[in-house]
């Protein structure tokens, strides 16, 4: 690491923000989103429900005067719902100029994953539309599923096909 880096910052000059990912846990899987879109990480807030939104949009929070819709990423992926606890966090992001908060089981760390360590070419999704999985990042012997946040927040149906769930 460069000794010119200010104390408390672990990034060095060669770090590229596009290769930095914030990883988080959902059940026992690890996911990642590009750090560039992340505005802040906040603890669970009081959610106010709103009508006329899909079930995975749990409502909105008022974050210092900004109204931010919250998406429960478990429900978005068709995973079983889990009660929020003290580790549950909201990753606040700006996607396509609109704020969105992702409710996840807990954040793990910020990692640099260079493109060479990201497997992209495989068709991970099973449908013809643009997949929500942008790639699989290899970090040592672990992997993180890197998400395409613009697909994640879109209305595209990305729930796990029911036949897959039945097979588990």
């Amino acid at each position: 690491m460069s000794d010119k880096a200010p104390a408390g910052l672990s990034f060095n000059d060669t770090d590229n923000i596009d290769e930095m990912y914030l990883t988080f846990a959902l059940a026992n899987e690890e996911y990642g989103v590009g750090i560039a879109g992340v505005t802040e990480i906040v603890g669970m807030q009081r959610i106010m429900s709103v009508p006329d939104v899909p079930h995975y949009i749990k409502g909105v929070i008022n974050l210092r005067g900004k109204v931010i819709p919250l998406m429960d990423v478990r429900l978005r992926f068709g995973m079983p719902e889990r009660a929020y606890d003290e580790r549950t966090v909201v990753i606040v992001m700006d996607v396509a100029d609109a704020p969105i908060g992702l409710i996840v089981d807990g954040v793990s760390e910020v990692l640099e994953i260079p493109p060479a360590q990201v497997d992209r070419h495989t068709q991970f999704g099973r449908s013809t539309q643009r997949p929500v999985i942008a790639g699989i990042g290899r970090i040592g012997d672990r992997v993180a599923v890197l998400l395409d946040t613009s697909v994640l927040v879109s209305e595209t149906d990305i729930a796990v096909p029911t036949d897959l769930i039945a097979a588990e």
Binding site: M48, S49, V50, P51, V60, G65, V67
Partner: protein, 405 residues
């Protein structure tokens, strides 16, 4: 950050002489945002749960004064953005001169209430829709001079453009003394386009409204002035964006009158706050006509046509719009059936919306619905309440339209 002193120019010198100052709209927008945040944090502070159970008589007096000041600061900040509507009217007057040349008609343009104040943001958006209304009057409304003389009218046609503030709304009226809308032609076209059944005879107000539908135009010839069926559509979408309403009135042979009702300011909204289950809704105060607690027997269930409900109010029947039915999903955590009906005025007539509780009346700061909230129906936006809670601002017009269809 250092403040840059702008070099003195002759323009600023003359402006200073007349007591006027040029300020960029960005600075005013910033001030408006700050005032909004200020009023929110004041409410948050005075409603803090930490204060519960304390003896607060002096505090309450101070809070009262603080709230008064905040309200005044809000009004003063809103006032900064108000401009006379005359700026828009004068541009239209120039346009009418141009129209006189193009149509060969002589037009007497009368302007009333040009000093009516309106939010600069609203004024900037008004020119195009008003232009379409005025063009329609000049092109289709007013008859050619010979035809006017034959029907005993003055040779010169008249278009009156007037503005007046009515409550928290500005009412802008474009009236002409031309031939009026042709019920026959519009009805024929409306039936062709499937707006009405072949034998249906709609009320005049309902019929005139179809001229604002996209792609509706009865003009036989498409001139470069109007008749392309897009103008009225522009009017419609602008009015929706400005939270305004349009009303058309016309008498054959005597003329047409188009009235636009627009809120004076877009920043703050005077609302009543309603609770339904765990959800909060805000409704602009001026659409609420009354609040009622129905007695048994005043709610009438009708099974025909898919089922509906009517509320009997002083001998009249008002359709009931249940929000959970409208949104097609139960509204969270309902303990008891709603006991209060709020009656709203809409251009489709009154509707009654059942709620559990009426909480408060307050000035709310509106936030637009963006991102994943953009598709929420019948809503203007989110309202931030003094308690830090978020309420959905209901658009009663679209709620009412949802009921009647």
């Amino acid at each position: 950050m250092s403040m840059a002193v702008e070099p003195q120019s002759t323009a600023t010198a003359t402006a200073a002489d007349s007591g006027l100052m040029r300020v960029s709209s960005d600075k005013i927008s910033r001030l408006m945002d700050l005032v909004g945040e200020l009023s929110l944090s004041v409410s948050e502070t005075v409603q803090s749960p930490d204060l519960q159970g304390l003896d607060l008589s002096n505090f309450d007096t101070a809070v009262h004064r603080l709230n008064m000041i905040v309200r005044e600061v809000q009004d003063a900040a809103t006032d900064l953005r108000l401009v006379p509507i005359d700026d828009v009217f004068r541009r239209l007057r120039r346009m009418v001169r141009e129209l006189e040349r193009q149509t060969g008609k002589s037009i007497d343009m009368v302007i009333e209430g040009g000093d009516t104040a309106i939010d600069k943001l609203v004024a900037d958006k008004l020119y195009d829709p008003l232009l379409h209304v005025v063009r329609n009057s000049a092109d289709h409304g007013l008859e050619p001079p010979a035809e006017r003389l034959a029907t005993g009218k003055t040779e010169q046609g008249r278009i009156t453009l007037s503005a007046a503030q009515v409550g928290s709304e500005v009412q802008i009226i474009v009236a002409d003394d031309g031939r009026g809308l042709s019920r026959e032609k519009i009805l024929k076209k409306a039936r062709e386009k499937g707006f009405f059944g072949e034998t249906e005879e709609p009320e005049p107000a309902a019929l005139w409204k179809v001229i604002f539908e996209p792609g509706f135009s009865t003009a036989e010839t498409v001139s470069n002035l109007s008749g392309r069926g897009v103008g009225m559509d522009v009017l419609n979408s602008t009015m929706t964006a400005l939270r305004g309403r349009i009303a058309v009135d016309s008498t054959a042979g005597q003329g047409t009158r188009v009235a636009l009702h627009i809120p004076v300011s877009l920043a703050f909204l005077d609302c009543i706050i309603l609770r339904l289950g765990s959800q909060l809704f805000a409704v602009p105060i001026d659409v609420v006509s009354e609040i009622a607690r129905p007695n048994p027997g005043e709610l009438l269930a009708i099974s025909a046509e898919g089922g509906s409900e009517m509320f009997r109010l002083r001998g009249k029947h008002v359709p009931v719009c249940r929000l959970d039915q409208f949104y097609g999903a139960p509204i969270g955590d309902r303990d008891a059936p709603s006991g209060v009906l709020v009656v709203f005025n809409t251009s489709n007539g009154a509707i009654a919306v059942p709620v559990d509780e009426i909480l408060d009346r307050q000035q709310v700061v509106m936030k637009p619905l963006i991102g994943r909230l953009a598709n929420v129906r019948a809503s203007w936006g989110c309202a931030l309440l003094g308690t830090g809670e978020v309420a959905l601002v209901l658009d009663c017009e679209r709620l009412g339209a949802g009921v009647s269809s």
